[in-house]
């Protein structure tokens, strides 16, 4: 059984095409379930290869929170209304649910951004070898791109771009946890740093907040321990090209947000020297071997 469904900004789903509808076959021509050959557990800053997918494993509770409401359009389709005029502008995603005869279930998602909705547009085209004008109103562009794929067999949610799919899966932030304001304050107010007036802690980006959360969660570094700070001072001195500012008492001076980015790289030991060419480098993504 298959359903092609739209997800609205208000969280409701609307049925667009059912299996018997000939339009579904046209959709399926381009919007296909991916064959995942390369997969990588979701990791910040990791750059995917062309055929590679990030994945997150969802347990029963997470599945209920993130996926169950999408399945409703198939399991209890009477709960879902047919799409009506005026709802295309409210779409946030289109998704295709498929359950095989053997019960194997999968969902592919296509994120719809506001720019895909066309209020009115005029096209020039050929019809019967004659130039003519075609006007399209209240339409939404569907580009066949699979932004996320839920594999019910493995309980894995695959995706390529976290920011694309974030609004579609409530609770996925836990796989990309950002530090809270309180945590950021505790972090930068520690003995490790010396904050200058020019440093705006509220200007920190999502990436920096994520890294701060990672460092806090790992609990491997005691930022108030002077001995540890001395070790990081020595480490920083080896990579002074990055422009670390260190006070007389060994505290890392933060004047702007990029100073914090550099120190975060330092705390995560991303500065290294290549073994053969002795080139000093910074790694944007690391994996445990």
């Amino acid at each position: 059984m298959k359903k092609f469904v739209g997800r609205l900004k208000n969280g409701n789903s609307v049925l667009i095409f059912s299996e018997e509808d000939g339009n579904l076959a046209v959709i399926e021509d381009g919007f296909c379930f991916p064959v995942i050959s390369l997969e990588k557990e979701f990791q910040l800053d990791y750059t995917l290869d062309t055929n590679e997918w990030f994945y997150v494993n969802l347990d029963g509770e997470e599945k209920a929170q993130m996926i169950a409401h999408y399945l409703m359009a198939l399991d209890s389709s009477a709960d879902t209304n047919n799409v009506v005029n005026g709802q295309y502008s409210e779409l946030i995603a289109l998704y295709l649910i498929n359950r095989d005869l053997d019960g194997k279930l999968g969902i592919i998602f296509n994120r719809i951004f506001d720019k895909y909705y066309i209020v009115s547009k005029t096209f020039l085209k050929f019809s019967l070898n004659e130039a003519c004008v075609s006007k399209e109103e209240d339409v939404v562009e569907f580009n066949n791109r699979v932004d996320a794929y839920w594999d019910d067999v493995t309980s894995k949610l695959y995706f390529k771009n976290y920011s694309f799919i974030k609004p579609l899966f409530k609770g996925i932030e836990k796989f990309y946890r950002c530090a809270t304001t309180e945590e950021v304050n505790a972090f930068v107010d520690s003995e490790f740093f010396q904050i200058e007036d020019s440093f705006k802690r509220d200007k920190l980006g999502e990436r920096a907040l994520k890294h701060i959360a990672e460092i806090i969660d790992q609990q491997a570094i005691d930022l108030n321990d002077v001995a540890i700070r001395v070790l990081y001072n020595e480490y920083a001195n080896g990579y002074s090209e990055s422009g670390f500012l260190i006070s007389n008492n060994g505290k890392f001076i933060l004047t702007k947000t990029t100073d914090l980015t550099n120190v975060i790289n330092l705390l995560q030991e991303k500065y290294y020297t290549s073994q053969i060419t002795r080139e000093k480098r910074v790694a944007y993504s690391t994996s445990k071997i």
Binding site: S18, E19, M72, D75, S76, S77, A78, D79, N81
Partner: protein, 185 residues
């Protein structure tokens, strides 16, 4: 909603309204059958009445047939066995319409205007207008079912007892709140 679905909905409403027309014609002793050449005799007005009722039953039968042409690709998970037969809820509206049709006068311009108004109102009444006692005569029942998504759905089915049902499949969507259960062959 597709054009086919809109046509179906109008047909169901017309079929549902046909009972009032039949009653109105009977009340006014309107005769359509006078003489049957095959048996070479005059026909009693009684047979006209039978014809009106037969047309209503035929329309009910055709309603079921046309609904069955639509794909039965919907499913419903029922919330906590919340299933209630609802013929009783529709009957007051329906009986009210019968009373109006009986109290209408002879066939004239005024009656036609009132009937037309009632018919348009009936078309706009939504799920109530799909209730057709002649469909009930064909063995179908009307249930109000609460879905897992906490929506109240009207279900037309030939199954006599749904008390134990937790989910229902093979459903044909008439509109977003009315579904018809297609029997498996």
């Amino acid at each position: 909603m597709s054009l086919k679905q809109k046509i179906l909905i109008y047909f169901l409403s017309i079929a549902s309204f046909s009972g009032f027309i039949a009653l109105f014609l009977i009340k006014n002793k309107f005769q359509i059958l006078f003489y049957l050449p095959i048996i070479n005799c005059n026909v009693d007005i009684f047979w006209s009445y039978i014809t009106y009722l037969f047309v209503s039953v035929l329309l009910a039968f055709l309603s079921i047939y046309f609904i069955s042409l639509f794909p039965a690709d919907n499913t419903l998970i029922i919330e906590g066995n919340d299933i209630v037969p609802v013929e009783g809820n529709f009957l007051p509206t329906y009986i009210g319409m019968y009373v109006i049709s009986i109290s209408l006068g002879a066939i004239d311009k005024d009656t036609l205007i009132i009937s037309l108004f009632l018919f348009i109102m009936w078309l706009k009444l939504g799920s109530v207008s799909y209730f057709n006692p002649f469909i009930s005569l064909l063995g179908y029942r009307y249930y109000s079912v609460r879905s897992i998504g906490n929506k109240t759905i009207t279900l037309i089915t030939k199954e006599k007892d749904l008390k134990q049902a937790t989910s229902i499949d093979n459903l044909i969507r008439i509109n977003n709140y009315t579904f018809f259960k297609k029997n498996k062959k």
